[in-house]
Symmetry: C2
Subunit: 307 residues, 2 copies
């Protein structure tokens, strides 16, 4: 039976883009529920300077509170060498580095040129390898940049080559503001695979800004990708709000893969319930489509029982 | 250049499932805006008994008010012989008949067995052919039934055979409550095509209940389908409300097809603006994903201009 893996980003990419700052215990509870649903890869936080992203300033405390769970990998986002040191101290063994394929986006995101970011990321990777950590390399705006528009695939290939040489285990290709389309996804992935990256080391990180995240994820599946980033409820930038760009909703992908006979190893109801828990804690409705369907079905069932 | 056709159902399938009853002039205005956006096939109303669906009780008056437009086809939904007579009197030249592939759904929808519905639909088709009308045959719940669950493809094939023999021009396969998945869409369509239906005479009518409408439409495209039903803003059953099941949003499909280099002949901004007009008239937010994105982008642009 075919199978895919969900890489859950809600505790990091989700919460980072939410106005509310959740208590550390609530984050640990959400992560515990994700684990209970069967998620094996969770990006739990970011080791940026605490004051840069107040939502994630409790990174070290959170990591200490995480439930021990066989076969579960907790990942931390690493902006630089200092962040890596904090992650090591905190006991994180799986790290994700990042930079953008678009010069303007990279500059706006981390105030560095792509060349500067690459050098910094390579240093982080070298140390992480010495520490025998697992390493993920995110590349943002692979399928389009909100500032530059089209992003040449050559930009991505250049970065991919450097990251693979430096020793990342997984290349995560990001559609940061939901500009990709399925044809482009197939074409870009074909180029990355042709450049020598084994498809089992590629993940895709889609956004649902224009409602295309699921279709784009399925296009990636068709060319052999088996690792998919998602966020419960589509948390992480509500599509209603100016400038926002919701993550691919985990439930939408798990529901569809399972319906297609592709195993995710995840209990969809438990995953959806984790999304509702997150929504309740955040205090506003999350936009995920299956999330909304599931809540409606649940309230209909409750109404039928009490009728 | 590859191209596809949008069959816009918002004035019928959309409004039929909305609580508000819009004035006839507003419907005519919406249809005029859809025409101005480049839509060439529009299902404008249903010729059911006026008291059954108050939202569409003005069918005959509406048809009289429709703008004349070169190359545009206005379709009317026809429940029975009486409805067909009203449509003929009203001047409609394109008619859509319907029945369900699921016995239970058909019974709940029109209080008849599938066998009874088939006989009635065949009579309508015979008269419509005598009147030299274009005829579309909808089959509902092809990809799953909310009451029965799985619907055997043999049910659909039996109905398809009868409809083709009776003389429909287009077979429209409906995923009435958004239960389809892309693998199933490819498999069912392969069976329908193998049964002798030319793919250019097949349309798909997807629902976005679980966020799968676009992915399912693209799966149908891959096997050769080029006609897609959609509703601006995803109008027609808000996914938030119990029991509801939004239509595939026209903007989501037009945006994605165009991004993939597949021509729709439609001006996406004008289409999106027509969706916003419909939303304003209905008085509540429509759920379409591109619709929400487009509104956000428009208000950001307005804010930037006034800043």
């Amino acid at each position: 039976m075919a199978s895919v893996a969900l890489y859950e980003v809600s505790p990091r990419d989700g919460l980072q883009n939410e106005a509310a700052v959740l208590p550390t215990a609530v984050k640990a509870e959400l992560i515990g529920r994700l684990v209970a649903a069967g998620v094996q890869d969770i990006e739990v936080t970011s080791f940026v300077r605490p004051r840069w992203i107040p939502q994630l300033s409790d990174a070290v405390e959170l990591v200490r509170m995480l439930p021990k769970a066989e076969g579960v990998r907790y990942w931390g986002l690493i902006p630089n060498q200092v962040g890596l040191e904090r992650a090591v101290e905190g006991g994180i063994r799986h790290v994700a580095t990042f930079l953008s394929a678009s010069e303007t986006h990279n500059k706006k995101n981390v105030n560095r040129t792509v060349r500067e970011s690459l050098a910094s990321v390579e240093e982080v990777i070298a140390v992480a390898r010495d520490e025998q950590m697992a390493i993920r390399g995110y590349i943002s705006t692979v399928f389009g940049c909100p500032y530059e528009g089209d992003v040449p695939v050559e930009n991505t290939l250049r970065i991919v080559d450097r990251l693979m040489t430096a020793g990342v285990d997984v290349i995560a290709l990001g559609d940061t503001t939901g500009m990709a389309n399925p044809r482009q996804v197939r074409e870009v992935l074909a180029r990355v695979i042709a450049a020598g990256v084994p498809v089992e080391r590629i993940a895709v990180h889609m956004h649902d800004t224009r409602g295309t995240a699921l279709a784009n994820a399925l296009a990636a599946y068709e060319v052999g990708v088996r690792q998919f980033d998602g966020s419960v409820g589509g948390m992480g930038g509500c599509p209603y709000a100016p400038g926002a760009s919701g993550n691919a909703a985990s439930e939408d992908m798990v529901n569809t893969f399972e319906a297609m006979g592709i195993s995710t190893g995840i209990d969809l109801d438990r995953l959806a319930a984790a999304g509702v828990y997150a929504e309740e804690q955040l205090g506003h409705e999350l936009p995920g489509r299956y999330h909304l369907y599931w809540k409606g079905a649940r309230s209909r069932a409750a109404a039928a029982r009490s009728a």
